[in-house]
Amino acid sequence: MLKPILLVEDDARDLELTLVALERSELANEVVVVRDGAQALDYLRREGEFAERPAGNPAVVMLDLKLPKVDGLEVLKAVRETPELRSLPIVMLTSSHEEGDVVRSYELGVNAYVVKPVEFKAFVSAIADLGVFWAVLNEPPPGSAKAARRFE
């Protein structure tokens, strides 16, 4: 079974448009949606409302930068500091190309940084490309693959 894509997005409209885009990319992966950074960390750590979810990391996390409670950069930092999650591919989705955010994201070890295009067609193709690259083409790091196999 394919590993899911974890989409972390607080804005309802962005969420809807992103889901449309993912749908159009015809990826077979399940898309798990959480609405803020705290929820995302709960999901990844299997805590709180996600304590019961089956083990295994998602194929890729699409993380909005500006999030309520715990923002994208904090989620990224927490993931990179947790040994079991460290090699999880994370794509930062953001509305702007503020230099500071880009620099800090890469410092914290983001795998890709994508500014959501205003143009919808461009947006769809960006999301699709991301999904295909990270969820399908990209070979996950050996450690995470092994761990995933064990729990499947």
């Binding site: 962005d14 448009l17 449309v20 509305s95 503020e98 959501k116």
Partner: protein, 725 residues
Amino acid sequence: MNPTSTDLDTCASEPIRVPGAIQPHGRILVLRGDADELVAFSGNWEGVDECRRRVAALAPTMPALVAGESPAALGRLTLAGADHDISAHRQGDYRFLEFEPAGADFGTRAPIYSLARHFLPQMQRSRSIDELLAIAVRELKRLTGFGRCMAYRFDAEGHGQVLAEALDDGYESYAGHCFPASDIPAQARALYCLNYIRLIPDARYEPVPLFTLDPALAPTAIDLSLAGLRSVSPVHLEYMRNMGTQASMSVSIVVRGQLWGLVSCHDHDTRFLSFPTRAACEHLGRLLSLQVEATQDRLEGERRHELRELTLRIIAQRPDLDASLLGLVDDPAPLLRLASAGGVAVVLDDRCRSAGEVPPPAEILALAEWVRQQGEEAIDSDHLATLYPAASRWQGVGAGLLALSISQVHRHVILWFRPSVVQTVTWAGRPYKETRSDGRIHPRSSFASWSEELRERALPWSTAERAAVLELRQSLIGIVLRRAEELNQMASELGRVNKELEAFSYTVSHDLRAPMRHISGYVDLVLELEADKLGDKAQRYLRHVKDASAYSGQLVDALLDFSRMGRTALKHARVDLGALCQEIARELSRFEPARRIDWTIAADLPVVWADPTLMQVALRNLMGNAVKYSRGRDVAQVSVAAVRREGRVGIEVSDNGAGFDMRYVDKLFGVFQRLHQSDQFEGTGIGLASVRRIVERHGGQVWARGVPGEGAKFGFVLPIKEEKN
């Protein structure tokens, strides 16, 4: 030529304190310590026995003597049938008894009483030094009967200038004349400070030798510094004879331990003064010294007070004065008056502002650097060229310099200049001693007026002026520190505002783009999913909605770029504008494959020291505009030329495009200012605003010229800066 040094050295070795002889008008006995033991006597006693008898007779009545004090009167006795005054003093291990012929001026007729009656009240009424000295010479003349009494004051180099004079008919006037420092050798000056009075009744006298009883004690080992009868240097006697003077007396004016001046009395005849008269003269000298000191202090105090008020005015009236202090010169009058200067300049690093008569700016900067290197708070000279040779080039404005160093770190100085003045010094004779064929030093033989012009000097700076500028320095440092603090505060306030702006634009960039993305996204979805249900008009309207949202997205991006341009720190590097223009031209041509653009990029475009990214943005904007606004032309002609002005270099981009009306030139560089309808030429209206912001952040200027329908020229220049490694 300066008539001070070498002549004086020879004279300075003369043994004036221990001549081993006395003048013949009196007799002397020298006793050892407190024992009444005779050790030496002058050769004009009848013999040792007489001397011993005198000692034995006088010893019981002798008062206690304090070493170094001037002689005390011991009463009178008869010697060889004539009344004699006896005086005694102590010097080192010896006591001295001097016997001199007495006059009628004893008891209540002693002249010292008339001094209190006559001289003191006049002296107290005097308001100036000159007046004081005039009173003193008159009084001395009255007391002594000398034919000429003159008072002179020594300058810093030891030359004496006659300030007051009282004379009888037949005496040459020396008023205003200068007596060179070499007239009085250093050890004589020291003696004048110790012993306030010296009398030579007859310049043609034959000295009477001292004899000692102990063969081990040489007569020339006995210090006669305080003895009234001390025999003087033969060189001095020759000097007197050359001057036509038979008798002379000098009374010292000592201010704060320094020989301030002398009252010098001369007579064509011999003139003997009794001990009480000499005591009165000495007393007069001491009173005069005190009063000179008091008057000087008072005048100095008044001048200081006046200058302090001026200092306060300079400071208090300048609330707008910044830490550079350059603004001080805006109102130069009080600043010039403070130091009675002809010109003043304030220098901060490479900046200089001046008022009045000053040397050229480059000379001022070099001088300021020299002043800074001296490491002194203040420097002054009335003859700057001796310290700083370059000053000889501009003596007409700055022969004299008074300089204040405000900071040791920066070149931050205030310079006051005084022009050279032609000062005529009238010497009382050529002020040079002569060595004649006999190889001996002779005093000068001529006392006829001899004028010398000093051309390279300014009027000297007074103590009060020096003190005033030092006080000004304290106040200015206060201002500089306060301004620096204010600047600091302002900088942190600016930093805070900048942070807020950053936060604001961050929010704008995220939150403003999201709704545009949503509009565009949903409109696309509607157009896609429901296209067949929508009429042509509805579809067209929705496309407008989409375009509008895309455009506002571009606007937001442009605005953010613009704000970032003003905030991020410049990263300077060497930028070859020629290479950059070539590259941008190739790129712009690639974007417009259908157009024919004739590029003319000058080969001599400058290389500047600037932020390469921002330079690229600026050039891309200017050249992009040229391409854009020449769209209607076939062939479009765009040229980039070099601009070189004084201290600045840059470029100018010209095109043969739409041009613009010069009436609107001021609007061109504003944010969102557009002179063309947007369906004619697309754009956000932010390009030229960015160019201006970039250029101004580099300290440069932008300009634009245009003719509607004919084309436009846009250019900028940047200051030439040294590359810093």
